[in-house]
């Protein structure tokens, strides 16, 4: 019986020949990811259920990447990182990326593949809904809560329902002004915030093959914004090469059978796409950027797992080079590697750091989640009062970036940069 890539990975992890959608199976987990927001609670569940002296099922498979509340004076936030630190020591965990040390990385979803923990054909669970990002490299990767994560920590297993697959066939010549973010916002706009609930979202097609790994991650990252269980892209040569540059560990890439059946196919031709935004307060509120040019903004934000990668900053720099921003513009690289890239990457002999400084952006913050989820009061870029925000992040729920009264528009780095210049929502083609 033929299977999709998602079904194949689950079948392999369940030790069965074949699985089908809606079947419940116990599967073996390859990587458990947690961070400072959900790690302490996960550890609490693990100890409560398995005992104070219990050991994690496999110390090489537990990856702890603190990233959410790092640059804050909030005492509980520090206490939580201490809890992780103590646990990593007690369990002798090799993959704890400790803030304040050379091993600190930044946002977990960017650090996980960068450090070689994402491998095709494997099963990743993380205590963060955007764990779906890692499907961009051909893994089955999904977000779970603390209780399930505590269970995985003790047993290395989880009971899951096999998702149906929605397949998005994305073809056509992609114009320069169209980014991964424009593609996924368009899809979520079409299917809605619950359009993929319980389903795997598989992305394929010529356009996807030509995209960078980072742009593929932007797309898979937002599968959860349509309710998806996982986002996934079959690992092509580009993906395999990327993985091999990050890890020497063996892996077995899996692929959909050519004749596999899926719940539904969606066909897109990106040559007709236009730069877009998602209006407050849902990621599904799609609108072409050019049709909202009357919306004034006060605050521009470039950062997060989905919008703070080096490729995102390069896109923003292309627009900002030689221009001045007219609103407060906050830049938060996702990881330390991205922050270094801002210094080493250049456009026409100018580093990105110089381009951003000359454009009048606020000094670049150290890598973390920062205001993507609001965070403690002293978080960099946290929204205030009723300012209007345009952001490369992935959620625009009420209060998501801090203030309940500050509406958030989601957009690509190109659109955010163009809007930062004019102070109004702006189609980036005006600057290209």
């Amino acid at each position: 019986m033929s299977m999709t890539i998602t079904e194949k990975i689950i079948a392999k992890a369940a030790g069965c020949e074949h699985v089908q959608p809606d079947e419940n199976v116990w599967i073996n987990v390859d990587i458990l990811l947690t961070h400072d927001i959900c790690g302490p609670g996960t550890i609490g569940v693990f100890k409560r259920e398995f005992g104070d002296t219990a050991k994690v099922w496999d110390k090489n498979k537990v990856v702890i990447i603190p990233d959410h509340y790092i640059y804050t004076k909030d005492e509980k936030a520090h206490r939580n990182v201490d809890t992780l630190r103590d646990f990593a020591k007690e369990q002798d965990l090799p993959y704890f990326y400790d803030p304040g040390t050379i091993s600190y990385k930044g946002v977990c979803h960017d650090a996980l593949p960068q450090e070689g923990h994402v491998r095709p054909g494997e099963v990743i669970f993380g205590t963060d809904s955007h764990t779906c990002t890692h499907g961009a490299l051909g893994a089955f990767s999904s977000g779970i809560g603390n209780t399930d994560a505590g269970f995985v920590m003790g047993t290395g297993k989880l009971l899951i329902k096999v998702p149906k697959t929605l397949r998005f066939n994305i073809n056509g010549e992609k114009p320069d002004y169209i980014t991964g973010k424009d593609i996924i916002l368009r899809i979520i706009g079409d299917i809605g915030v619950d359009g993929a609930t319980y389903c795997a979202m598989e992305f394929r097609g010529d356009t996807i093959s030509k995209m960078s790994i980072e742009e593929r991650m932007t797309i898979c990252n937002m599968a959860i914004e349509a309710g998806g269980k996982n986002g996934i892209i079959e690992p092509d040569d580009k993906a395999i090469e990327y993985i091999k540059s990050k890890t020497g560990q063996p892996f077995e890439a899996l692929y959909s059978d050519p004749d596999c059946s899926v719940e539904k196919d969606y066909d897109y031709d990106v040559s007709s796409f236009v730069p877009c935004i998602a209006e407050p307060h849902l990621p599904s509120k799609y609108a072409p950027a050019s049709e909202r040019s009357d919306v004034k903004i006060d605050h521009a934000y470039i950062g997060s797992c989905t919008g703070g990668k080096i490729t995102d900053f390069i896109m923003a720099a292309k627009i900002l080079k030689g221009n001045r921003v007219s609103v407060d513009t906050f830049l938060v690289p996702a990881t330390v590697e991205v922050a270094e890239g801002l210094i080493t990457e250049s456009i026409d002999g100018k580093s990105l750091v110089e381009i951003f400084a000359e454009a009048g952006c606020i000094d670049i913050a150290p890598p973390s989640c920062a205001a993507c989820l609001g965070g403690p009061e002293d978080t960099f870029g946290r929204t205030k009062n009723n300012e209007v925000v345009i952001s490369t992040t992935n959620r625009n729920f009420i209060g998501r970036m801090g203030s309940k009264d500050a509406p958030v528009y989601l957009a690509s780095p190109l659109t955010v940069a163009a809007s930062a210049i004019t102070g109004k929502i702006t189609d980036p083609r005006n600057f290209m």
Partner: protein, 181 residues
């Protein structure tokens, strides 16, 4: 969440797409649910992300809610995987949610923790109830009855998760199944 037959109490009514930032704003995510005082604190902030024009879910000066049943529209609990969301509702005193549909992770977290019963309605009940109405849920027959009019509405059966709910969460279920000791 042990086996329970009837849930009675006041209802609180919500819209479609109630996201986890509305249920528990990120500023409170520094609280760790497995620490008892912080569990109670999380409860006191339940649904505090709702805009000001909503009725208080927790009365001023109180730490628990008078509403034991939440009735909502589609896609309840969308957004983050934060388990703080079902936990804060459970800690506030909510016993059951009756929504038209759930976001997957919220539903799963409700079942795994045993904090609240995530029940599904077969029709749009958010238009049939108002804040403060009394209701009774009959778990055996999968129905909810509006006390003052005696109208009864059918709920969906719990399906494949029923054994996990009946066991009291993922750990108890796994113990029953002999997966863990």
């Amino acid at each position: 969440m042990s086996k329970i037959k009837k849930i009675t109490g006041k209802v609180y009514v919500l819209e479609d797409n109630i996201d986890t930032d509305l249920i528990i704003p990120a500023i409170y995510l520094n609280l760790v649910p497995t620490i008892p005082e912080e569990y109670d604190k999380l409860g006191s902030y339940a649904l505090s992300g709702l805009p000001e024009n909503f009725d208080d879910f927790i009365a001023k000066g109180e730490t628990k809610s008078e509403f034991t049943i939440i009735i909502a529209g589609r896609n309840f609990g969308c957004g983050s995987s934060r388990e703080h969301a079902p936990i804060c509702l459970g800690a506030a005193g909510t016993i059951a949610i009756v929504a038209e549909s759930y976001a997957r992770i919220f539903f799963r977290n409700s079942v795994a923790t045993g904090e609240v019963y995530p029940l599904e309605s077969t029709e749009r009940l958010r238009d049939k109830f108002q804040n403060g109405d009394l209701a009774e849920i009959d778990m055996d027959n999968a129905t909810i009855t509006k006390t003052d009019t005696n109208e009864t509405f059918q709920l969906k059966s719990l399906g494949a998760v029923a054994p996990v709910i009946e066991a009291g969460g993922i750990f108890e279920y796994a113990r029953k199944e002999g997966m863990i000791t």
